[in-house]
Symmetry: C2
Amino acid sequence: MEAIAESSHWTYASSGVDRSAVSKALAALLESTRYRPPASHGRPVEAPGHYAGMIRVGRETLAITTDTVGTKVLLAEQMDRWEEVGEDIVGVNVNDLASVGARPIGVVDTILCSKPDPSRFGAIGRGLGRGLREAECALLGGETAVVPDIVHGVDLGGTAIGYFPRGRRPITGSRIRPGDVLLGVPSTGLHANGFTLVRRLLTESSIDLGRPRPGARSSAGEELLAPTRIYSRLADRIADRPEVHGLAHLSGGGVRNLVRLHPRVAFVLDRWPDVPPLFRWLQTMGSIPNSEMFQTFNMGIGFVIVAASQHLAETRRRLDRAGAPDAVLIGRVERGAGVRLPALGLEYEGYS
Amino acid sequence: MEAIAESSHWTYASSGVDRSAVSKALAALLESTRYRPPASHGRPVEAPGHYAGMIRVGRETLAITTDTVGTKVLLAEQMDRWEEVGEDIVGVNVNDLASVGARPIGVVDTILCSKPDPSRFGAIGRGLGRGLREAECALLGGETAVVPDIVHGVDLGGTAIGYFPRGRRPITGSRIRPGDVLLGVPSTGLHANGFTLVRRLLTESSIDLGRPRPGARSSAGEELLAPTRIYSRLADRIADRPEVHGLAHLSGGGVRNLVRLHPRVAFVLDRWPDVPPLFRWLQTMGSIPNSEMFQTFNMGIGFVIVAASQHLAETRRRLDRAGAPDAVLIGRVERGAGVRLPALGLEYEGYS
């Protein structure tokens, strides 16, 4: 088993993100916020550590997620390209809804900036619009704050709400059993995770973002900015199927995210596909161990479906029709705990 | 009629917030985001310019608002007091839900910071917890991002969702009629609006935040940081009454917010109570005209209820029981448009 702090050379902590300090601060924050309102204000659905908060209200169950695009915006600033990160506002949020099988209803965006720039905002809006169409949900509001004393450049974030159509229950992973299969849907690149590390690598290696990396066609900047693939539509198309036992968005934390679905089974990733060259390029640049790569980046697979093995062929057909003909078998569920990549000798115990 | 740009000396534009530049950037953003999803993903409720986005989904109607605490956090930083702004995360959001008569279900918070500080996060959490109890809703999730390259200090924001209990319809103000009365519920201070201007005033006048202003007991810093009063509970207690025609949270934009409720009636504020000394102190400090004060700050009244005049006494009794015995008659609705404060010779045409 590896702990975060053990991975050598380049780690997230050494790149400036100290996960344990964040955990401590978060624990302090959450100590006083465990208030349970009267039932007339909704009954929260317990799914500790999961991607989305869920609550039953009136005759519906809702899911809610909130996330920012993070430091990927700093790369957008360097490249002066804003459509991709605009689209990411939707992607980073609705993919978390997808992980509980909720259908997106709407998104609200929050843009903090040091100055309002109409051409930049226009580009962010075009990306946002594309994301909304891809996720099939409406923009229900937003907040734009011009706060030069708080923010350098731009911060982009949002919140997504979703619901469970009649008869559908939240998919929390509790039905995952040894013997289940793991299907992976490819990512479109880094999505919006790991950029603090990426930016440090790029700077230390004096990479010219305007030129392609060896073997690539588009510039490194464009390749790194590729918007997060939106998985909510395909998740919505399979979420009513009883053989779908778990769904996971591989965001920050990489393959460790699978542990969020079920703490008492082992996720064995014995068929992980070839890692896309972009990740290998970054890995080589920083001499980053596999252990750190797989817990920081999605490494080519952005979304995972856990399904009953006897329904593998059928699930693939459904994914094909739902816009994911590129879904591949990446592993299986065994007795045990944690996540393993046997070919690389990697084992992870928990989510963080 | 006054336009924003005409108000002399201290205006929001001269303090660093240029509203028209924000409007232009926002228009550019929204140009590409008008996508309407299929009805199976919810049917947005049209209430243009209103406080909350609303959408019908399944068998419920939901409301959603998103807002940040804004530059008030910079004062929190100066004072190193964080509970108040933690509570504001809830207040600034649920008060917008209150303005459409929605009952809060839950809040998600977003904290961006340059470093995670457990004692600061603990204080933010205590405030957040107080706000949740006051608004009777749960914390359904959150995002904490340590992004020193984007944020100086701390930014606090959030999103709130609410719903309309069975039989209740959104209160948009469309039923407001000439003859209706306006009841005002006092604020607890500045709430979380106007702080860019306030900070500039404090700096230029070299105010010591640790000492009380003349006539006050607590320090100026404490007085300015007083958390936003939470109006969602009282709004929830009266929102089922047919005589309640409109609800308004007087946030950024001050009394102009009333115009959001109905563009074709005049809101005549002919009984505005004495403006609290805190506002007068700031006004004198910057020689700020009344016109600017009333469109930047709440000036002592944080929430307004528009009700049928024959139900005035009954509405006051209900507010009394709902925790607002201090609600006062502040004006009435007439034929016309805009907002007037006759005693001060003020007239405003639109919201912004």
